[in-house]
Symmetry: D2
Subunit: 259 residues, 4 copies
């Protein structure tokens, strides 16, 4: 399937590893030139080189925390008129609800709700003028299935969900779409870390920890990052211009609710 975006340009926040990297991979394969980003210079350089070598597209790496204005500036300097934007960032850690402080709430809200929307504010007017835009946020299945111990994650992210939905209604007439992907348990470094944490805390084996992760997924397996990347690429395609304001769950069919 030709996604009709060869020659387009994309800025992908937090894309040197994990799901963000998988999104970069799928776009590069389609001939999209990329600005990728991550906090670790070695990761960013390696990813940029691999993507460029494999797919023959231009890839610029911007090192730094994607929730800062400085990095936003650098990203836009590298690609002033992006056609495609991936909103992504490191998810907050679990925390006991009762113990979360005002500073933690505020900092997390800044990082996961306010910072992405500030970046969106900067790119949307140009997308509307140019009559093409694809904004996709990597959110979490938890925005539909909140869980108190992940409050720092799902609360602000659900706020972002609403902001993006509201915005989507205004800009779709300019062929600018705004959608979210809601992953649940993909086989990335994060799940590996969480499994190792479970080994340390619970005294179980790594296999047992991995089995526990899988047990929560109706599909009976973790998702593969490349499955995620291709769903992202599809939402970025030319022919996805009639799909906007959607929250597509990539959760191995695990969500309980009918909608």
């Amino acid at each position: 399937m030709d996604l009709g975006i060869s020659g387009r340009s994309a800025i992908l926040l937090a894309s040197s590893r994990g799901l963000g990297r998988a999104c970069a991979e799928s776009l590069a394969r389609e001939g999209v030139s990329l600005v990728i980003n991550g906090r670790n210079a070695a990761d960013v350089d390696r990813a940029a080189k691999e993507l460029s070598d494999t797919h023959g597209v231009e890839v610029v790496g911007v090192v730094g925390d994607s929730t800062t204005v400085e990095v936003h500036e650098e990203l836009l300097a590298a690609c002033p008129t992006p056609d495609i934007v991936l909103l992504n960032g490191e998810g907050p850690s679990p925390a006991l609800f009762d113990t979360i402080t005002e500073e933690q709430w505020a900092e997390t809200a800044q990082r996961t709700m306010i910072s992405p929307i500030l970046f969106v504010q900067r790119v949307v007017p140009g997308m509307c003028e140019r009559n093409f835009g694809r904004i996709v946020a990597i959110s979490s299945a938890m925005v539909k299935s909140p869980n108190a111990v992940m409050s720092l994650s799902h609360g602000p992210r659900l706020g972002l969900t609403g902001l993006l939905k509201g915005l989507s209604k205004d800009v779709v007439k300019h062929n600018v779409t705004v959608n979210q992907l809601l992953p649940e348990r993909f086989d990335t470094g994060r799940q590996q870390q969480m499994a190792e944490l479970a080994v340390a805390i619970k005294g179980i084996t790594l296999d047992e920890a991995r089995a526990e992760q899988v047990a929560t997924i109706a599909a009976g397996r973790l998702g593969r990052p490349e499955e995620f990347g291709d769903a992202f690429a599809f939402l970025c395609s030319a022919q996805a211009g009639y799909i906007s304001g959607q929250n597509l769950q990539l959760d191995g069919g695990s969500y309980e609710g009918v909608f």
Copy 2:
């Protein structure tokens, strides 16, 4: 119907006027002693006197901005072990999406998402210990129907929606329920102000402005504050202990979606 809460105590944020005041009225009628709150001392004093005179319950007024820690302290000093808590506050004004600044996002997130959840963190442990609690937030129909021009309102409020839902799952086993009411166009001072604003801006008559408000409501009328107050009182009742994590829309049947 006996709501089974006579003799209970409640803290009602932002309850000297409008929907908050209507909630106070319905609880007072049921024999609940109240701590009410508002930013204008005259409003608070008048409301406290009227509620106490009419219903013969104890009513304490706390003057101040309910989004501040100082007012939280005063409210809890006046009622250290509340059985019922109403989360409420002034809604943000409309704003053009593109023009909203980082400071506005942060301030609004603090006022409408973080501040209420901080207050919830303080009252929930005691409610769980005492095996009774009813927390109800006045949110907005917009959390299910976002609209870019109201982003400052629906974004953080949807974040709060998620936080309360996640929490609700953990505390319902202690007979502590957490629900939201989602109003759309009640006949309060706020709608009157908005109508007057429309008169000034659009050069229409007040009757025309009021008719425009009604036109968006399937019921063909605005809601009456006392209808809102009674729905709130029902969710606070002893017999509503099996209802939690719900977002009840009071919108004259206007919401488009099936769920």
Copy 3:
């Protein structure tokens, strides 16, 4: 709280036992005259006598299957201009998805989707003319959380959910509201039967079977029928006229989703 419906009249389908009976009890207490219904004459007679004796309201019993046109006729003969209608009926039994026959699908659709909507079609025009109506259906939590083994239940019932929602938008302007209650595990005869079935099939004790039922409910207990009845009565109240098209879950806070 005065529900403002004393002197009103109601037709309550399948109301001689269980949740329907609890609804009858709450309405009778509010001074509503009732037409109740059930398939067992002794049950109906006993319920009618008890309701009438306890609450001093007129109660007529109609014996028969509430999914038939004949019983619809009798109910409307007993109360030609009902103000309130409860849609209720026996839920279908579990069935292996693969084994359900066309006849079972069709019969269940008739009983749980078509028959209630036919009754609604008969009462709604009069309610609109008289400018008061409260229609409430007892559905199931499964309409939001489908489960293949209960397909005969949640499928047609979700169809009914949509039909009632669509209708609600048209009639709310006549002060006719249409809502659903979505129960999950109330302590009625049905749960008792299901526990006894589990005893027989699994070789566990009754206490164990009851504990298994409770384990699925976040509240850590089954619901009490009178809690259900009072939620129903509230939705039938005069002051609930601004609430329509809602699906209120009475599930001990168990539903996973944010909406």
Copy 4:
């Protein structure tokens, strides 16, 4: 993007015209051999020939009403082990809610809810055994946004939505996914007919009638069938195996609700 389904086989109900035909086109392009279906022999023959000529895949046409057991038999005779199934059928016409008869309810339930699920019952066990299956239903945006005048459409279709969701949870572990596409106003013959109907009834021009259709869509245009076909093809892809139980709206971003 390689969808990984070249050489797979599909049965596509009601696929000789409109959105079904667009789905056939997108699958054929990916190298999937097809069994297509429609009620008009000339349409089916032409579509089969065009698809085969253009894409070089095997295409078998089955003429007849896809809601009948006879046609199900023929489809399965032509392709006993389908990897992909499209559920589709002609949508019911508008009807005044009050005037819909029991026969109309029953017939529509049979055609749009029961008949598709009977076909699903036949193909799912084999898909589970073979460890690959993609079932996609063309539903309607109305299942999330019911409208009384379209009750015959959205009611039974919402029932089907629940049945498919329930089923999806059980079969995703066998790499069998079940999803729905919810279109709103695509530029097919049906919209053309409805525009012509509006010309006849309202005395407006065809351009005006078309403009009215577009006015309800946030994107400011109708959808293009090939956009629909490609979304379908993506959900049928090998890499979409982690996406199940989803209801993807293709509505030009028009849906009001956040979820």
